[in-house]
């Protein structure tokens, strides 16, 4: 009965001495967890769940990409050819190396080596910056040949520059005759869609990397001050998972955007 203190079963016996609120807790154990194992498993699962959200977040874009790739197959291949698969390939390798250093950072955390975490994460950030540097170089060229999908986007100009292997300096507009050509050619709009997807997807990917840098910077400060222990290093492990995920997104982006169609044949 409800006034009775003696309760059984689902009604919750109270386990004596299991846990006294606030006392006897290690400082690296949050108050609402029973033990380090539970805390670690919760943090870990939380990150996996977050990544599943991320998969669907990127998934919406991959869905849109798939639809237009199917609808405008020829133009998407031509557009993909304008991108440089060598630079994309180099970037893929750079990112894979950054994943290796990140894995080593997590390994250091498991061993309780705070300073090593900082070192490996610094290496990860350097690789990440190298990736973004290559990306910036590519984007600069992309701007110059007017494939950035705004008003001055010019499909025929970009095609022309690509065919003749030219690397022009950026000017606000492409020559007028190319815009006239674009106006007559419905494929220019389809090419613009490809580059819209290209910039949004790689842009979102780059944004994720920059967010990763920020998180790593915070973690490095904590790690340097010995905040993480063998019992508590969930944040390190989580940013590790996050970084591998960002890497993995690129592994999909690279073939979809850079390797589409036969680069050799359609030159």
């Amino acid at each position: 009965m409800h006034t009775d203190t003696k309760v059984t079963g689902h009604s919750g016996q109270v386990q004596a001495g299991g846990h006294d609120v606030g006392h006897g807790h290690a400082s690296d154990l949050a108050h609402h967890f029973e033990n380090h194992y539970q805390q670690h498993e919760a943090g870990n699962l939380g990150m996996w769940m977050f990544l599943s959200t991320e998969v669907l977040f990127f998934g919406g874009m991959f869905g849109a990409y798939t639809v237009y790739r199917y609808k405008f197959e020829k133009v998407f291949e031509q557009a993909s050819n304008i991108l440089d698969p060598l630079l994309g390939g180099i970037n893929t390798i750079i990112l894979l190396f950054s994943s290796v250093t990140m894995a080593l950072a997590v390994r250091s955390a498991q061993q309780g080596k705070g300073k090593a975490i900082v070192g490996w994460m610094a290496a990860t950030i350097i690789f990440g910056l190298a990736f973004l540097g290559v990306k910036a170089f590519e984007w600069k060229h992309d701007f110059a040949i007017h494939v950035f999908p705004t008003k001055d986007f010019c499909w025929s100009y970009a095609r022309e520059m690509h065919k003749t292997h030219q690397h022009p300096e950026y000017k606000p507009n492409a020559p007028a005759k190319f815009y006239e050509e674009d106006a007559k050619n419905p494929e220019s709009k389809q090419g613009k869609l490809f580059f819209f997807l290209y910039f949004t997807m790689t842009g979102l990917h780059g944004l994720h990397m920059i967010i990763g840098f920020g998180i790593m910077a915070v973690i490095m400060v904590y790690a340097w001050n010995g905040y993480y222990t063998k019992n508590y290093f969930v944040p390190v492990e989580s940013v590790g998972l996050y970084w591998h995920f960002v890497d993995l997104v690129w592994i999909f982006l690279y073939p979809l955007l850079y390797l589409l169609g036969a680069h050799l044949a359609s030159h």
């Binding site: 059984t8 689902h10 699962l45 991320e54």
Partner: protein
């Protein structure tokens, strides 16, 4: 075993708790900051409840304006443009700011950790952050309304929202993007909590069914919401960059927007309805004084609904020009959702059958819920039938159908849950006759409002117009009159529940004689850390003894 308030009262046993005030989550800190910076899932649940009630009032006012306009056939009260903005405001506020977070963010936040025997959710800081994201999202959305409103409907179909609407669309989209992350974080938090924070002995098949329902809901929040986030982002980029990702003039495809939109927004219906289904399971078993019939079927049907919800979205697009083969496929899949939904209704009936039903007010709401949900569900079958959908698409039949499911379901379920858990949340009892009156007003008013709309829709009255043919006036007047009764049914509990929270008679720990940890192992209201020690579970959740044990229980 415990008994109910009414039984105790009949026996002359005082159900009020006369012990001196203890330290509770409500009184242990009193500053405004202690609320706004709290990491306590109970306080966050209460804050969600307050902010949602505010949004509900706003959305309700817009609904009232719509019904007032529709008293007469002529569009004489509002311009068509203002009418468009009114129903958009109503839809956006009610769908995104009330129905979707309704049960999980308020009752779920408060009750679920108690049911698990946990001290809090797994990530208390994220939990607080998700409330702030909710508030920021609401501020953006209301700002857009103040700037002149949006006229796209809550569905934001392109190219209406991209080419033909003003820039306020961007403000609302930004608000909903932010709100989306609030929903995602709640779902993430709940999944991890249910996986990792269960008390010793609380195995998966000993979980209360409300927890199962929240688990299924969280999966949808986690996997569906990011898609609407990216869709709204693409819409925004289309407007900013002038790229036609959804614009046919520029090579894009407006149908793609509909696919992406409904990929989230159909499952979103189940974010609204699954938690109240869980509430109903709790109410039916508690007030039937009988273990629930088909526990595993109910738990499984929640998961089945969550999974099915992701593969039926194109039933919103039968008339949009999708392939007829795709339409047949989606029609068939949509029909199959009726199976897990039917399982729930039949298991509730099976539970009530030969139970010792106690008709306290939460049970009244449960009856209303079951009735309205059944009508809403069955009329869904009319719409998933390809042939009839062509006739009924975009008519008031659709409006009536989704109000039966989303309001008759989600809101009535929420009200049932609030009446059930109010003594737990605030440690005080409300006025029972008033509660029953409110349950009656809601049920009667709801049917009077929305049943005529089925008929209007069948006669061909299209949705989203501020005028209609004169011969349709009678039904529309009925509908508006019903809205008044319904409004009364909503306002009453806001008053008597608020009154009860402060000044009602004190409730005992377990006034309904329920068997789950939230009732048996915590005080009413709970202490700041919920439990005195770590509760241990050794039995199935609903171990109500059958009728013959009742005398024995009372003799305790």
């Amino acid at each position: 075993m415990s008994t109910t308030v009414s039984e105790l009262k009949a026996k002359g046993v005082p159900f009020v708790n006369n012990e001196p005030s203890k330290v509770t989550y409500l009184n242990h800190e009193n500053t405004v900051a202690s609320w706004l910076l709290t990491l306590d899932h109970k306080r966050i649940g209460v804050m969600y409840l307050i902010s949602m009630t505010f949004m509900f009032l706003l959305g309700g006012i817009f609904a009232g304006i719509i019904r007032a306009e529709l008293i007469t056939p002529k569009g004489d009260m509002l311009s068509s443009d203002f009418y468009n903005k009114t129903f958009t405001a109503h839809g956006v506020i009610m769908v995104f700011f009330v129905l979707i977070p309704a049960v999980p963010a308020s009752l779920g936040n408060f009750i679920m950790p108690l049911m698990l025997g946990a001290k809090d959710v797994a990530f208390p800081r994220l939990n607080l952050m998700s409330w702030y994201l909710y508030v920021i999202g609401a501020v953006f959305t209301l700002l857009a309304m103040l700037l002149g409103g949006v006229d796209t409907g809550w569905t934001f179909y392109t190219p209406l929202s991209s080419t033909y609407s003003n820039g306020n669309v961007m403000v609302v989209a930004a608000g909903l993007f932010i709100l989306g992350f609030s929903s995602i974080l709640t779902g993430l938090n709940f999944i991890v909590t249910i996986h990792r924070m269960r008390a010793p002995g609380l195995t998966w098949f000993r979980l209360p069914l409300f927890v199962w329902a929240l688990y299924a809901t969280s999966i949808i929040q986690l996997l569906g919401t990011p898609v609407i986030a990216i869709t709204l982002s693409l819409l925004g980029l289309e407007r900013v960059l002038g790229v036609g990702i959804f614009d046919p003039r520029l090579g894009g495809d407006p149908i793609l927007f509909q696919h992406l939109f409904w990929f989230y927004s159909h499952p979103a219906v189940y974010i609204m309805i699954l938690p109240p289904l869980g509430v109903a399971s709790e109410l039916v078993t508690t007030f039937s004084r009988k273990p629930i019939f088909g526990y595993q079927m109910i738990a499984g049907s929640s998961l089945a609904i969550a999974i099915f919800s992701f593969i039926v979205w194109a039933h919103h697009m039968f008339t949009s020009g999708i392939s007829p083969y795709a339409a047949m496929f989606f029609s068939l899949l949509t029909f199959s959702v009726a199976i897990p939904s039917g399982i729930k209704v039949f298991t509730w009936l099976g539970t009530m059958w030969r139970g010792s039903i106690v008709n306290d007010s939460p049970m009244w709401f449960a009856y209303g819920f079951i009735g309205l949900f059944t009508i809403g569900g069955l009329t869904g079958l009319f719409l998933s039938t390809l042939g009839t959908d062509i006739h009924l698409h975009d008519t008031y039949f659709v409006v009536a159908h989704f109000h039966y499911v989303m309001v008759g379901g989600a809101i009535v379920g929420l009200m049932g849950g609030l009446h059930f858990w109010w003594p737990k949340m605030f440690g005080r009892m409300y006025n029972e006759p008033l509660a029953k009156l409110s349950a009656f007003f809601v049920f009667a008013g709801f049917n009077l409002t929305f049943f005529p709309q089925f008929l209007l829709g069948y006669l061909g009255m299209p949705r989203r117009y501020h005028e209609y043919p004169a011969e349709m006036q009678v039904m529309n007047v009925f509908s508006t009159a019903g809205a008044l009764v319904l409004g009364l049914g909503y306002i009453m509990p806001m008053i008597y529940l608020t009154y009860a929270a402060f000044w009602g008679p004190k409730a005992s720990k377990n006034p309904w004689g329920a068997t789950t940890l939230d009732w048996t192992a915590t005080d009413s209201p709970p202490t700041p850390h919920n439990f005195e020690g770590q509760p241990v579970v050794t039995e199935e959740p609903y171990h109500y003894k059958s009728t013959e044990n009742k005398e024995h229980a009372l003799a305790h």
